[in-house]
Chain length 187, copies 2
DNA sequence: ATGATTATTTGATATAGATCAAAAGCAATC
DNA sequence: GATTGCTTTTGATCTATATCAAATAATCAT
């Protein structure tokens, strides 16, 4: 539970009361490697805070999986649009490794937003950081060679990139597996 | 001033008091076409709400301008990272047309966040929408042809795309001017 | 362990889009 | 309204990466 509180504390000051409310509203859960955790056919009603393992956000295009985000220890994973706006989205979530997570339901999240304005601030600030990362990613997708893209990926995911299968990295970067394999070979 | 209040009202309920605080804290300003509004060498301390005209967020790479965002009527433009985290960023802002804007300073924005929790909520929700647009943009940059990218651009910027010079569109999409010109010709 | 899947590497070829170069269109300025 | 400086178009190559195909290597289940 500690890592979760530390996560919030990066952005806001946590009152004892808020700490209790948070810890009282999440529950532990584990998933086996390969398990489908969220199905694109459903509204996403849970957010997963990873204590151990890696979860992946992906969608299917022309029968192939396209990976869009990898969450590891200390990060939240969910289907953002589905979760925020309660609309169906095309994202699936699965476990790339055995995972231990803390689950927070949308209902509980809404409760926290409604009763603790500092939670709104937390959300604003943490989204701000992700926003910036998105801009860097967009920059990296334009005007750069496949090699530059891979290097940017390794930088962003520096502590977990060796744990992610090559094919998934390739689809994340918008290049083919074969090209990525060749890039890796030449280093 | 009305469009600005309508903008906020899309996301939160505006009390009379908040309305007054907002209108009292912005000031009108105009910029001539081509003017540099924000310089990458400085911290961005103002956010611009556009009432008329188009503003552009761009940076310079290898001596060339790379456009990253176009803001039109009813939208905010600023250098997000510089503004949010008070760090230097590489973004410039200029005016693609004569512009009429409302200016809100960071100091006033912070005041509003500190005194009106619903402003934090506004920020969270509006960033959420932009977040989603970013995800779509990332998708459009991967696995798609130059033509698909241009079509996605026209969709996202459907009411202003004819007002944006071709070269800027090309750098926004990460393709060359020449390629974009050829794509336009074949339609 | 052993065979069966699944993931990665390697090779040969094709192609979308980049690059280089120059002409044609437009728009601003005196 | 001609002159100057941008912007867009058109044309001829070139190249990074995709695609297709098959061989290894790694992982999983019995």
């Amino acid at each position: 539970m500690i890592p979760l509180l530390q996560h919030f504390a990066q952005y806001i000051k946590l009152s004892d009361q808020l700490k209790e409310e948070i810890t009282g509203r999440v529950k532990e859960q584990t998933f086996k490697k390969g398990m489908l955790i969220h199905d694109a056919g459903k509204i996403c009603t849970q957010s997963y805070f990873i204590q151990k393992g890696i979860m992946r956000l992906y969608f299917v295009k022309d029968g192939k999986e396209v990976s869009d985000y990898f969450g590891a220890e200390g990060e939240w994973v969910n289907s953002p649009r589905s979760m925020m706006f309660r609309k169906l989205d095309h994202y699936y979530i699965d476990a790339l490794e055995d995972c231990e997570v803390l689950v927070l339901s949308v209902a509980n999240l809404v409760y926290l937003f409604d009763h603790f304005p500092e939670m709104e601030r937390y959300a604003r600030l943490s989204m701000g950081s992700m926003f910036y990362q998105f801009m860097e990613r967009v920059t990296s997708l334009r005007f750069t060679t496949a090699k530059d893209k891979y290097e940017h990926f390794c930088q962003v995911y520096h502590d977990i990139y060796p744990r992610i299968p090559l094919g998934m990295v390739a689809s994340y970067l918008g290049i083919t597996q074969e090209t990525l394999s060749r890039i890796r070979a030449q280093k």
